[in-house]
Amino acid sequence: MPAQVITITSGKGGVGKTTAVANIAVALASGKSKVVCIDGDIGLRNLDVILGLENRIVYDIVDVIEGRCRLKQAMIRDKKLPDLYLIPAAQTRDKSAVSASDMTRLVRDLRADYDFVLIDSPAGIERGFRNAIAAADRVLVITNPEVSAVRDADRVIGILESEEKGPASLILNRLNPALVKSKDMLSPEDVLDLLAIELIGIVPEDENVIIASNRGAPVAYDMKNRAGQAFRNIAKRLKGENVPFLDLDAQGSLWERIQRLAGRK
């Protein structure tokens, strides 16, 4: 089956696009899918750092496009997962080094041999964003439960609709159930109510995500971590599995937790 090409984008910066790409990629590749990640943020490359592959970069996406190396040469195999590859962005160039048709061509060459191609989009709605969505079969829009991030996500969804990219799906990142409960944070319902697109995952706020990213070992590796679990669930949903959403109020009382462990609740 030819690869599913998925772009992750947000409009606003800093909501967790790159972290999400890394974690979903790790989750997919752990589940025996062959995955290629493309860092579409030319000039501000990050995905390599989060995947812990920074020191292995020899060639990058611009080298491929400008014909200085073959595609395979720019694909870095992950340290732990043999089915996970990264095509890094160029750090010394900018967005104008890549065009939408370059991106489409590159992805076309990957489709036959892999199950998933994940593209990390830069922030904004300019050229880099357009390049990143050009080749996508499916777009995941990621947002935080913050008014500004949601508004930017809304804008991006509007653009995707006008480009007839098919319906986008939503990842709600860094949700803090306690703040939602005290009505100090937008709830998933508030966000979905406004954006009116399909929800594919809710990732709870967790400092381990940042710690893991800094170590270059995405949190999706950590089988006990709830944010990691949320990303693994997103990966499963991308494969078409029907996975129930995490119960985010699960940090309940000790008694409730014991009951849950005992399988009684």
Partner: protein, 227 residues
């Protein structure tokens, strides 16, 4: 002539002409363009021209050559659009634009209405998302929401069958009798004629509301209720 024409597509833009080339040999296309121009000097005289050269890789001397040839014929080449980064760079070097801004239809719609009679209205059957701006010289009716960051500017009344969380300006040309009604009126800002009002707090249980300018000349919203 027929054969050369097939290489080129000419389109009128708001502010000039756009000529689209394909990936055939540059020399042929250049010649075709010049032939075409020489064939209809009156049409091209004084034109502002943008050139879309597909993925042709062009260097300074090639672009300079065509620019000069065009300018000899009274045509101003102002933009070269290309998929090739090399060509883009060359064009930028020569001070040519590399993008012609096509306003995306989604972002700014300015509807022109021949008949500005009072009954002219625009019906929009979808949610207006952030970044969308609707301008209309009549009434506007929306079946859907108006999200924050979206704007409607209408010379007449505005009626929203949905939630309003964006900005709405009714009676934009000074009609103080204009009204704004919505099932849930929680906008970032409302304006009627030259009156503005900010923030009507979102309510737990929304009720249909109608906003208008009252006798004191202030913008005021009141609930609608079936008696």
């Amino acid at each position: 002539m027929n054969e050369t024409q097939s290489l080129l597509q000419i389109k009128g833009l708001r502010d000039g002409l756009l000529i689209t080339m394909d990936d055939a040999s540059w020399e042929d296309q250049r010649a075709a363009l010049i032939t075409q121009v020489d064939g209809q000097p009156a049409f091209f005289q004084g034109a502002r021209l943008a050139l879309d050269v597909a993925s042709q890789v062009l260097h300074v001397n090639e672009l300079v050559e065509i620019r000069d040839q065009l300018s000899e014929r009274g045509i101003f080449l102002w933009a070269v659009i290309s998929e090739s980064p090399t060509t883009e760079k060359t064009a930028q070097l020569l001070g040519l634009a590399t993008r012609i801004s096509k306003p995306r239809p989604e972002e700014l719609r300015q509807y022109s209405v021949e008949d500005l009679g009072e009954e002219t209205s625009l019906f929009i059957n979808r949610t207006l998302r952030s970044g969308t701006r609707i301008e209309f010289a009549g009434h506007v009716v929306v079946l859907g929401d108006v999200n924050p960051g979206a704007e409607i500017v209408a010379e007449g009344n505005v009626i929203i069958w949905g939630r309003v969380r964006g900005m709405i300006h009714a009676g934009s040309k000074g009609n103080t009798n204009a009204v704004i009604c919505a099932l849930d009126l929680s906008p970032t800002q409302l304006r009627i004629a030259d009156q503005a009002s900010a923030v009507l707090k979102p309510r737990e249980t929304p009720q249909p509301e109608i906003a208008r300018i009252n006798e004191e000349g202030k913008l005021q919203a009141e609930f609608w209720s079936a008696r």
